[in-house]
Symmetry: C2
């Protein structure tokens, strides 16, 4: 008899006091961190965690993250993050998330795109052939993939304006010495003034990671107004290379 | 028969990937955040949580925090934070912590000092008379107070040198609009270069909170070298008022 494969995991989150903004709602960066932890747990339980992968000199790289929230969870709320693999292609896999209240109603959803790289060559691997395509066993059926938010759009930066330049320090980097994915989100959201957050919330946040930056790199943040409520942000390191691009939608 | 009063609580912590530094050890600020959460839980369970207090227009204010660590927990480790009330005076209470490995051996300890203020007048309250001295019921017996680290010392800033000035943004403030206690620690530790963290770890961190600062305040960080391994840091807001003072001991 075939064993049923569990494809969707649930990850509980308690919204902590220092993890909420001045409106008492969870910081989008903190929520992003919880999503990545939920993803890490889900992979690990299926033998695809970075611990196991690193032994074979492979690692996951987050390529895109997109979060869309109807109502940001509040301080002391308990929420549940559900996550699953939507699809796997040769070089990328799509992982989706739902963010649920205790009564099961959704606060929002998220989408992410990941690549696997060889840690020695830094080149992407073929996910479909790795471990004999084992990862395909975890792809959910189409009817289980409830993630009714748009995928990542394409961002074009034509008239971007330098908004801020900052140096990176000890707190910015992760165990690999890279500026951590969540810190970019925090620095990007710090570009907007208090007044914006007093009257609006982040409704949707899209970020595409293009290159790695390191402790000591100087990051420049270029903004491009799309409309009153949508702003594109491009982050460049050392005045040259594009590190990531984001779009923030307020409401 | 008298009911036994539980005085010491245990708070489990899993060390998350994005919560460790480039050495794979938990960031001292993140550890501080866990301590404050453990403190909040402990108070809340005994009817002294800020939720209940706020209804009566009282709130806790962290006055001092001191963490001394023998070995910083690593990524993916599970640790246990134990916390209890050491003593209560009229205007302050001392709360201590131990930080334990799964086998019960200590990674380190912490001490904290708290005041209670009236939210309307911002004046301190008499802890001994509030709620008929109920808080005294939770003070541990001397033999239960195992916290073998030195208390807070006095810091004198005579020849402090301006090390950095920074503006404060959205991510820096808590639900009250104050720069959050943990963010000061992060900004202070960001004053030290990568090379320092490559060869040394934070062995002890002491911080005394003197005044509140707010979103938009400009913070200046003044450092004073005590010796090769000990540095004092004074944070002033808007070039005038002292906001907090810290001492960092590396080893």
């Amino acid at each position: 008899m075939m064993q049923k494969i569990e494809k969707i995991d649930s990850y509980p989150v308690h919204v902590e006091p220092f993890h909420v903004d001045f409106n008492g709602r969870i910081f989008p960066g903190v929520l992003g961190n919880h999503l990545l932890n939920a993803a890490g747990n889900h992979s690990q339980r299926r033998g695809w965690g970075i611990g196991a992968l690193n032994e074979n000199h492979y690692t996951w790289v987050l390529s895109r993250l997109c979060i869309e929230i109807e109502e940001m969870p509040r301080q002391y709320e308990d929420i549940e993050i559900r996550t699953w693999v939507e699809s796997v292609m040769r070089l990328f896999t799509n992982r989706n998330f739902s963010i649920l209240r205790p009564d099961g109603t959704p606060c929002g959803y998220a989408r992410s795109v990941w690549a696997m790289i060889d840690m020695d060559t830094r080149k992407p691997c073929d996910l479909l052939s790795l471990y004999d395509g084992d990862i395909l066993r975890y792809v959910v059926e189409p009817e289980e993939n409830v993630c009714p938010i748009q995928g990542h759009g394409r961002l074009v930066f034509r008239e971007a304006r330098l908004a801020r330049t900052l140096d990176t320090y000890y707190s910015d980097v992760d165990i690999n010495g890279h500026i951590n994915s969540i810190k970019y989100i925090e620095h990007i959201l710090d570009l907007f003034p208090r007044e914006r957050y007093e009257r609006q919330m982040v409704r949707r946040l899209e970020i595409a990671y293009k290159a790695e930056s390191y402790l000591g790199d100087r990051l420049s943040f270029y903004t491009q107004v799309i409309n009153d409520n949508e702003i594109g942000v491009e982050v460049r390191k050392n005045e040259r290379e594009v590190v990531c691009q984001a779009k923030i939608c307020f409401e």
